[in-house]
Amino acid sequence: MNPRKISGAALASAAALLFASTAVTTATAADEAAVKCEGGNACKGKSACHTAKNACAGQNACKGQGYVMLPQAECEKAQESSKQS
């Protein structure tokens, strides 16, 4: 027993007919996620000796730091010192 007055199959064909006759213009906004295309190992292998302190990339030392794991004061301190250097 189908509790609904209209069967799923009937709804499907109704949708098919509507599909051909309806123009939908409402666009749902989507965000783009920038993904860098550079190889995941772009700078590896250039020096077997690179250490934690001279890893070749020079990652953004403080950007976003302190947000989760550092207290705010420490982040500001780090930002200060990275401005000076």
Binding site: L18, A30, A55, V68
Partner: protein, 254 residues
């Protein structure tokens, strides 16, 4: 030791600190054996940590390089790399965050999010479904139609504001404070042409797309929408959703 034995001994040293290899390493007073070997053992982990950061750039940005490095080294220890390509390093990072920072669920959410973005980025290329090809299908056949999702499409349930944090970090803006949502929010992640995209999805839409993801028919999709809408409104809602997915290139031809 023959070459195979040398390689295995070297690997045991790099992975587990086994000292067998030390006996065959040349050394000088200035650069002793331990220093020479440490270069390779250290470089192995540094490179993996760096590869992990490439797979999770926003998490690294959020935590800062040092905190991320600590996580990366712990992760590499807990989940040793087993796949030849570093592309796949980090598939367990969300679970790892959940285990080490259960009090900060945003970290696991953000890891799942970034992994899904990366997967959308390099998912297989398949010709998207067009309105024209839908129009060519006889309306009586629509009920049995099994529409296929593009390989890049992923539906994620987020219980935190990780997507908002991701978006801010992507734009180099100050991320909002981490927050847990009153109820989980569905998100679609997919790739349109060469660009990964994401948007939040209302519950009825997420349900409908899940029906397709689990190989359901269009009839089942319509029945699913009846859980959310009066039957009279279902065909219109189904058409709006379908046209949106087609326009966003989330569906493919059979």
């Amino acid at each position: 030791m023959d070459l195979a034995q040398l390689q295995r001994a070297f690997q045991r040293h790099v992975l587990a600190g086994d000292e067998t290899i030390a006996a065959v390493i040349h050394a000088s007073a200035a650069v002793p054996v331990a220093t020479r070997l440490a270069v390779y053992a250290g470089a192995y982990r540094l490179r993996l940590a760096e590869a992990l950061a490439h797979n999770y750039p926003r998490l690294q940005q959020l935590l800062g390089s040092e905190a991320f490095d600590t996580v990366a080294h712990g992760y590499i220890q807990a989940h040793p790399s087993t796949v030849a390509s570093v592309r796949w390093l980090g598939d367990q990072l969300a679970d790892y965050f959940a285990s080490i920072h259960p009090d900060q669920p945003i970290l696991a959410d953000l890891a799942r999010w970034e992994w899904a973005i990366a997967a959308a980025f390099d998912a297989a290329d398949v010709e998207p479904l067009t309105e024209r090809s839908m129009n060519s299908i006889d309306p009586v056949q629509w009920a049995a139609l099994r529409l296929q999702l593009h390989p890049s499409v992923k539906v994620l349930q987020m219980s935190t504001n990780a997507p908002a944090v991701f978006k801010a970090l992507t734009n180099n803006a100050e991320p909002p404070p981490p927050a847990t949502l009153p109820s989980p929010q569905s998100w679609f992640i997919w790739r349109q042409e060469l660009t990964p995209r994401y948007r939040s999805a209302p519950d009825d839409e997420a349900d409908a797309l899940q029906t397709l993801a689990s190989q359901g028919t269009f009839e089942q999709l319509c029945e699913r929408l009846c859980d959310w809408h009066d039957a009279d409104a279902v065909p219109t809602r189904a058409v709006i959703l379908l046209k949106g997915w087609i326009r966003d290139e989330m569906l493919v031809r059979d």
